[in-house]
Amino acid sequence: MVKQHGWYPYEFQSGTTVAVAGDDYVVVASDTRLTENYSIQSRTHSNVYKMHNNSLLLSTGFLGDVLTLKKTLDGRIKTYEYTHNKPISTPALAQMISIMMYGRRFFPYYTNTIITGLDTDGKGCVYGFDPVGSMTQQLYACEGSAMPLILPILDANILGKNTSKPGQVKRTKEETVKMIKDIYMAACERSVELGDAVVVHTLTKEKGIETDVHPLRKD
């Protein structure tokens, strides 16, 4: 492909992440395939990053910006804890991410991030961001290369949108994990950038973070 001579600082490493908030839990999942322009760089790279305040950051897009964002955030979280003498809550962290990402409005972090955790009442919360920090609180979120495949399934399963039975369907933690695994297995049949394995983390107040790795197609 002929490219004009210039400076191209961004790359796009694929990865798909899903987050679902429940009444007292949050389930997040990521595939573990890292591709760059149709070649697979890694089969064991998860897009979920654990932050110091027990929130989970999911970030896809350009890996360089994802790692820098994670590193800078870690520092900010520690600074917050030292100045305020308590760990930062997930809603406050979401607002901090929003203005941090807007600080790079003219040279954005090329990442689609989601921050998840339990809020101060113990309820699960999911916040989604666009590359310049527009924050929205959501019941569930999906970002990444297979988002157009997975998001409609989540709309139908969780909120019953456009189905014969509209309305939210409440699920337990285990049912949500099973649903997400099924969704990834279906999506990887039709997406080249999805595969290898799906890592599912469940965050609850009592047990903290539980991890489950489920293998997917490797081709």
């Binding site: 490219k3 900010r76 100045t83 203005i99 600080g103 989604g128 527009s134």
Partner: protein, 280 residues
């Protein structure tokens, strides 16, 4: 944070230190000066290339599968009438051709008597209106009276003018009630700030204007005004692909704003089709 600002303390200072003492704790400032939005010029990183607007346009145009898509908002309207100001917005956010969200809050509640709407880049509107909220609060603390709508919109227009030409995308309406009565100003990213009785901003504004111009009267009753605002958004949502989902209506009164409703535009469209009660 606001009180410390009013009194002249730097935000990282301990409250026990006096104003005269030398700031010795410079380490925290060096580590994270940029989270402090008191000095916006320091907070927003300058890009390493000359023309940000041009570069972002290039990246958006799909260079080598890289597409940075920002969330863009779409039909908003506001008009003054006998009993205050009526504000109505849709709730769809698109990123390129993909509907990223159907539940975006496009009315930003700055404080109980000031509202700002969001059209254009979602992050731009949300961020600058948050900075505006901070300025309004500090004004209120320093002057012991509520800020006027004219002053609030001027603050926003001046802040955004500093970044003119760099690719911000923001078309917002500042709505409020101050001692001069109801106020409605439209502020956009090129620093434009105008006041009028009726505005609509966004990709669906052309459809909303036609409905508004057909039946708008200043002497409308509140119920008629709600109906007009609702119809304008519903028709815009019907014809504009980038608008839709939920219509939210707010009424700005002397006692502050009140949220009237938030319902699905699709359901209303079916209702209007059967109704046929619009009289021109």
């Amino acid at each position: 944070m606001a009180l410390a600002c009013t009194l002249g303390f730097k935000s990282n200072d301990d409250f026990n230190r006096s104003l005269q003492s030398e700031k010795t704790d410079n380490h925290i400032d060096e580590f994270c000066p940029k989270l402090n939005i008191e000095n916006i010029a320091q907070f927003i990183t300058l890009p390493p290339y000359a023309d940000p607007a041009q570069y972002m346009k290039m990246v958006n145009d799909n260079v080598d599968r890289i597409r940075i898509q920002f969330l863009k908002g779409t039909t908003t309207l506001a008009f003054k009438f006998r009993n205050g100001v009526m504000v109505a917005v849709d709730s769809r956010a698109t990123a390129g051709g993909f509907i990223a969200s159907g539940e975006v809050k496009k009315v930003i509640e700055i404080n109980p008597y000031l509202l700002g709407t969001m059209a254009g880049g979602a992050a731009d509107c949300a961020f600058w209106e948050r900075v505006l909220a901070r300025h309004c609060r500090i004004y209120e603390l320093r002057n012991k009276e509520k800020i006027s709508v004219a002053a609030a919109s001027k603050i926003l227009a001046n802040m955004v003018f500093e970044y003119r030409g760099m690719g911000l995308s923001m078309g917002t309406m500042i709505v409020g009630w101050d001692k001069r009565g109801p106020g409605l100003y439209m502020v956009s990213d090129d620093g434009e700030r105008i006041s009028d009785n009726m505005f609509s901003v966004g990709s669906g504004s052309i459809y909303a204007y036609s409905i508004l111009d057909a039946t708008y009267k200043y002497e409308m009753s509140t119920a008629d005004a709600i109906d007009l605002a609702r119809r304008a958004i519903v028709h815009a949502a019907h014809r504009d692909a980038a608008s839709g989902n939920i219509v939210r209506i707010y009424h700005m009164k002397e006692t502050g704003w009140e949220k009237i409703e938030e319902k699905d535009t699709n359901d209303y469209m079916y209702q209007f089709r059967e109704d046929k009660t619009m009289n021109f």
